[in-house]
Amino acid sequence: MNGIAVSTAINGDDIEFLCRPEETLLTVLRDRLGLMGAKEGCGTGDCGACSVRVDGRLVCSCLVLGAEVQGQVVETIEGMASGDSLHPLQEKFLEHAALQCGICTPGFLMAAKDLLERNPDPSEEEIRFGLAGNLCRCTGYDKIVRAVQDAAQVMRGDAA
């Protein structure tokens, strides 16, 4: 294949891949690198199911070209847990039953992680609007919001 050679770091690993110029980061992650955690819900930046972070910025990977991540640091859901120990957000999503079909969950977790890194002590409104770029058709969101509030508290080290 004639492609663009891209060097990047994904979840802490140095990765090199070839991709066509028009290929999105989402396609690269899923079809070239086998990282299936980011999902395509719309392909137009409206649902958040494909959320990942690039250089510490939350992006819709369906709107970023694969070639754009040259030299940048990519974080996906697959890198969220450290080894066997889940991230507090993952723990709290489990504990609060904040998922049903689960296909939106990777995107929500990435968006929530990003939110809490920027704002460790968000109000409920800040969480709701912070997650408004992510669609969930199953849960009605309440348990997701509670899970994020609870995780934020744990991550701040407040008495849980």
Binding site: G43, I77, L94, L99, C101
Partner: protein, 776 residues
């Protein structure tokens, strides 16, 4: 209600996490699109009609063929079997259109290419000459054009309606337009077909109805069903949108796979998924109701016209279910209800959570609301005056007696816990100050009939194996779409054997394990499949019990299965040991379980029978604020009390109630489907079609399960179905908005809001009532 789930719990009736939750949060749960596809997998894409109704004069696919990467282009001529996927045998649902297209977005052909991107680009290159034909794009246009019905209408009648109307002190009539709804399952349709030897093909399909996909694929390929295997581990949401609509994609993938000899995957883009697949039916309800000064209903005469779209699909049973729910929880002494499933030139509308029930129910509730405004009563008092009685006033329009009525108790409980009366008074006082912001509150109940009205669908099978190491393999005919069916069935199986959830392996739904299954639909998944699985467990247990009984010379009836052990008198035998001993003693450790719902029957021609095994109940109170200058509003607080009988899994059930309510709220408020005058759906992506967001949902959301409830029927552990009923709890949002609007005319005029009640509709209603209504 907040629940904390612990994984794994050991028994039923406990809040237990979804079986795949750990995979979901790690991004490791495989949906069909995530499965590793075989080397050389090709990708198919559909070419869609650009006309609502037209003769196809010329379909030139040469540019499509010439596009880069294209391997095959398939039209109706390439369907080896029958070019039809009508789920009801009407032969009106072609896979690919032929000489005529019947809706904008109808599949005309499929392109198969090396990459999805190539196929997608090539699909745009077809050259088509159309000759337009007259198109009916809405219910009104269909009625005006005298359109045919896609299926025989249903009539329900009881009592003398004419006399009832004559004898009633008040009679009023009106109509209500009820919008449709896009499913917006977050995982769109997808299928992958892998050709096998001889005529075999295996299809991985995101479907709620693998057996139907199997039969449709066989039919389309012209092979026997035994040659086709359909597999689905999990869906990313279904909501009814994958009950029949998955057939198309599975059939195309299978045809393309057999045609090319390669594995073929098809996944439409979201816009095409929304354009080419059916939705919730929009309805127009026309009603006449006679009532007395106390708000008591004497007679009801109503017609529910449904936009079926271009083919029958499930529009018959959907419009039937609308009639079955027009009474909601109310006794109509004399009643006449008619359905009108109209053929139009839109996509063929289909199953969607509630299956017509919600449209019938909200039409019925509109009559209650009308009566309340006409008499100046609190709508809750009109409701109470009309609730089904216990042992009297308890016959439905379809002649089934309501014998498990808990609506009065449930409503009473919620009325108290939500402080409904005091809050309503506060709101009336607030509105009386005449500000720009107005508030409204409403309490509405739900009674929903559980069972497929197609009686033969009320059966299920399961397959349980116990392996020599004591581990249990569980398979059943239901499909997992996020509703937590698998965890519920696994809880029942673990409990039957006295094991933990860790001992029970949940496996993908597969047509070669359990045959002739019904759709996972009508909320019936756990009612049917958990019963079938329990039956399989009991067969294995009874064989083990006999073995143990014989070994110790004690009666088999004394054997119990608890805590990982088989117990008999003072013998405490480890499960694993007994299983491996039983194997050596040549005891059969596998069983196929089966269940059919007892006691139900339905005669559609007569409009009489007992279509439902039991009813599920619920009620909600919604409080809203509207801005009378802009029509914008927010839902401030919602209180829900819902009946799931004795819950198999309160964490899962609460999730269903909350999610169902919000999905219902979306349907009734922000989710507006728009077609242009060419019949093209213009709201075909989440950018223009607004499902609720985390920032849109009520800030105060008090959701409780009616813990005192227990199913009077012998359902699985006395639980009740939960999938669909909560959606209709959202009717209280509409009525609360209605009250806020009505305040501008001193509650003298029923605002008659059509749905979805968008801010525009609120603003128009405020304007209309301010102009017409009595001043404050």
């Amino acid at each position: 209600m907040n629940v904390t789930v612990k994984t794994p719990a050991t028994v039923v009736h406990r809040p237990t996490a979804h079986d795949s939750a750990a995979k979901h949060v790690s991004g490791n749960a495989d949906y069909v699109d995530d499965l590793k596809s075989p080397d050389g997998t090709l990708h198919a894409y559909l070419g869609l009609s650009q006309r609502a109704h037209a003769k196809v004069k010329r379909l030139d696919l040469s540019k499509v063929w010439q596009a880069p990467g294209v391997v095959a282009v398939l039209t109706s001529a390439d369907v080896p079997g029958v070019n039809d996927i009508s789920p009801v045998g009407k032969h009106d649902d072609p896979i690919f259109s032929d000489s005529e297209v019947q809706f904008f977005g109808q599949p005309m052909f499929a392109v198969v290419a090396h990459t999805r991107d190539q196929a997608r680009r090539a699909a745009k290159l077809a050259e088509v000459d159309y000759e337009d034909l007259p198109a009916a794009l809405s219910i009104d246009e269909a009625i005006a054009a005298g359109s045919e019905l896609v299926t025989e209408p249903l009539t329900l009648k009881r009592g003398d309606v004419e006399a009832g109307m004559k004898g009633a002190p008040h009679v009023l009539s009106g109509e209500m337009v009820i919008g449709g709804q896009e499913h917006f399952y977050l995982e769109g349709h997808v299928a992958m077909a892998i050709p096998g030897e001889d005529e075999d093909v295996t299809v991985f399909s995101s479907t709620q109805h693998p057996s139907e996909v199997q039969h449709m694929v066989a039919h389309a390929l012209g092979v026997k069903s035994a040659s086709v295997t359909v597999n689905i581990r999990r869906m990313g949401g279904g909501f009814g949108g994958k009950e029949t609509q998955a057939n198309l994609f599975a059939a195309v993938a299978a045809i393309a796979a057999k045609h090319t000899g390669q594995a073929v995957k098809i996944r439409p883009d979201r816009d095409d998924d929304m354009t080419a697949t059916g939705k919730r039916h929009d309805f127009k309800a026309t009603y006449k109701v006679g009532f007395d000064d106390n708000g008591k209903i004497h007679a009801v005469d109503a017609t529910f016209a449904a936009n079926a779209g271009f083919s029958a699909d499930l529009s018959g049973p959907v419009s039937d279910r609308a009639l079955f729910h027009a009474d909601n929880a109310y006794f109509f002494p004399a009643v006449h209800l008619n359905s009108l499933p109209l053929k139009t030139n839109t996509v063929s509308n289909t199953a969607f959570r509630g299956f017509g029930g919600p449209q019938g129910l909200i039409g019925g509730e509109r009559m209650i609301e009308e009566i309340a405004y006409a008499l100046g009563m609190d709508p809750l008092d009109v409701r109470k005056a009309n609730f089904y009685g216990i042992g009297e006033r308890n016959v439905t329009p379809y002649h089934q007696e309501v014998t498990d009525n808990i609506v009065a108790r449930l409503v009473e409980d919620l009325e108290q816990s939500s402080d409904y009366r005091a809050r309503r008074q506060t709101i009336i006082d607030f509105n009386a100050r005449g500000g720009v912001i107005r508030k409204g509150i409403a309490l509405t109940p739900v009674k929903f009939g559980i069972s497929f009205t197609a009686t033969w669908y009320n059966q299920a099978g399961a397959l349980v194996h116990v392996y020599r190491d004591g581990s249990v393999h569980l398979n059943h005919g239901g499909t997992e779409m996020g509703q937590g069916l698998n965890i519920k069935v696994a809880q029942v199986v673990a409990d039957e054997f006295g094991l933990t959830l860790d001992d029970v392996k949940i496996t993908a739904t597969n047509t070669d394990k359990v045959p002739n299954t019904s759709a996972t639909a009508a909320s019936s998944g756990s009612d049917l499949n958990a019963m079938a699985a329990a039956d399989a467990c009991r067969q294995i247990k009874s064989r083990l019990a006999e073995y143990v009984a014989e070994k110790y010379g004690e009666p088999a009836s004394d054997v119990t299965f608890e805590n990982g052990a088989v117990m008999l008198r003072n013998h405490h035998l480890d499960w694993q040991t007994i299983v491996s001993e039983a194997y050596m003693a040549r005891i059969h450790l596998s069983a196929a379980g089966y269940y059919k719902t007892p006691g139900i029957h339905w005669d559609r021609n007569k409009g009489q029978g007992r279509p439902f095994y039991y009813f599920a109940y619920g009620a909600s109170v919604s409080e809203v604020s509207i801005d009378t200058l802009t029509g914008e509003y927010q839902v401030d607080r919602v209180d829900i009390l819902h009946d799931v009988g004795k819950s198999l899994n309160p964490a899962v059930d609460l999730g269903q109630v909350e999610g169902g309510f919000i999905q219902g709220m979306g349907w009734l408020t922000t989710e507006e489907l728009k077609w242009n005058d060419k019949g093209m759906l213009t709201t075909h992506a989440p950018s223009t079609y607004k499902i609720p967001l985390a920032s849109d949902v009520p800030r105060v959301f008090n959701v409780r399960l009616a813990e005192w409830s227990e199913n009077v029927e012998r359902t699985i552990r006395r639980s009740k179905a939960v999938g669909e009923p909560p959606l209709m709890l959202a009717v209280s949002v509409v009525e609360a908005l209605s009250m806020a609007v009505a305040s501008v005319a001193n509650y003298k005029v029923c605002p008659r809001l059509n749905t979805p009640v968008t801010p525009e509709r609120v603003l128009m209603a405020v304007t209309r009532l301010s102009a017409e209504g009595p001043s404050e």
